[in-house]
Amino acid sequence: MKSLLAYLLSLRGLVMAALVAGACFLSHRYSAHHTGDTVFTTLYMHLVPAVLVQPEAHAPAAEHAHADGTTHAHAEPAHAATPLLEIPLPAAMAAFDYRGAGAPAPPKTALFNLQIFQVLAVLLILVAFAGVPRYLRTGKGDPLTRLFAGFADWIRNEMVYPTMGKELGRKFLPYFLFVFFFVLFMNLVGLVPYSATATASIFVTGALALTTFLAMIGCGMAVQGPVAYWKHLVPHVPLPLWPLMFVVELIGLLVKPVALTIRLFANMSGGHMVVLSFMGLIFFMGELWGPAGAWGASPLGLGFAVFIMIIESFVAMVQAYIFTQLSILFVNASVHPEH
């Protein structure tokens, strides 16, 4: 107990906790209140990225919609309220309009609550690792610094160096360290109440996988030569088979980042969905059998939800590990082709 307090009550731990709390406060204050037609959709809307809106403007608008008597089942208050920040996009990117298809002419994107938590993850990395260089030089540091220094050491010695070798690994280590801790902090902060999981959005994980994909192609082409890289995609096969194998390998190359995207996204949103389902079960029983049913289902639903949350905190770390390790494997495979 005393050692746990030492981790949390160091200045670094307090700053990190304050950052998380501040991000949760910002996200809660500037996102519209979720309303769906059933309790399940209301719960589910907490999984969907929310547009950041002006806090004052939205409350009367929501009241007004109810006063009209026109209860649109799928009326989203987020769209009625004025967004905090709208950024116009070029017309070619109309598919990325946050208001969905059929919105008025200039396509726009807005600030989402996920962006808060992405920035938070970067800030947490900065705070957590600010003391690490000094610790490595002098051997002095608070418990949290020692923890993260050991963590980084583990990634270098157990993940990057055994796969890539020392020479190449040293060059790629900063990128993989960043990817690991970025994903880890986003996953873990997503478990805090009032927060949102940035990695439970397919766009965030897609962008992360895209950087891995670019590293695969870019570094492969830089090391082997632009043409030789594409030639070495195919292992030694008879000449008539070559075009077929090239297409197969090309598909294999494209599937790798897509699999990275889907794996992280589905794992993070899947866990939340299971938790929400168990919580929704309480309301479902309440509708079916009245308050007695709700009270009866509460211990079971809550217990299972807590159990799934414990599993999820494990999954959050395992997924960060797997994402990084697979990125290492993919980049290494494209830099060192099979012969």
């Binding site: 157990e158 699999a259 889907i262 794996r263 589905a266 794992n267 899947g270 079916l288 395992v318 590990y321 797997i322 390790q325 697979l326 494997l329």
Partner: protein, 85 residues
Amino acid sequence: MFNPVEGAEAAAQLGKFGAGIGAGIVAIGAAIGIGKIGAAANEGIARQPEAANDIRGGSLILAAFIEGVSLFAVVVTLLIAIAKT
């Protein structure tokens, strides 16, 4: 809660039925795959305890591949389940 439906609505409900069955089959496949990996990993660790760390890391990666395939299938069933028509 359980009302009989006919026609187009029945077809839509049948689609969701298929999504549910698909999710179940995905679970079976993933369980077989990950179970085989777990069994082999534990056997390997029991035979060679000094290689436990390598085996554990390798089995996590292999499990991740199976998980990836099964999650692809889950996403497909989810798309069927939430499809409007």
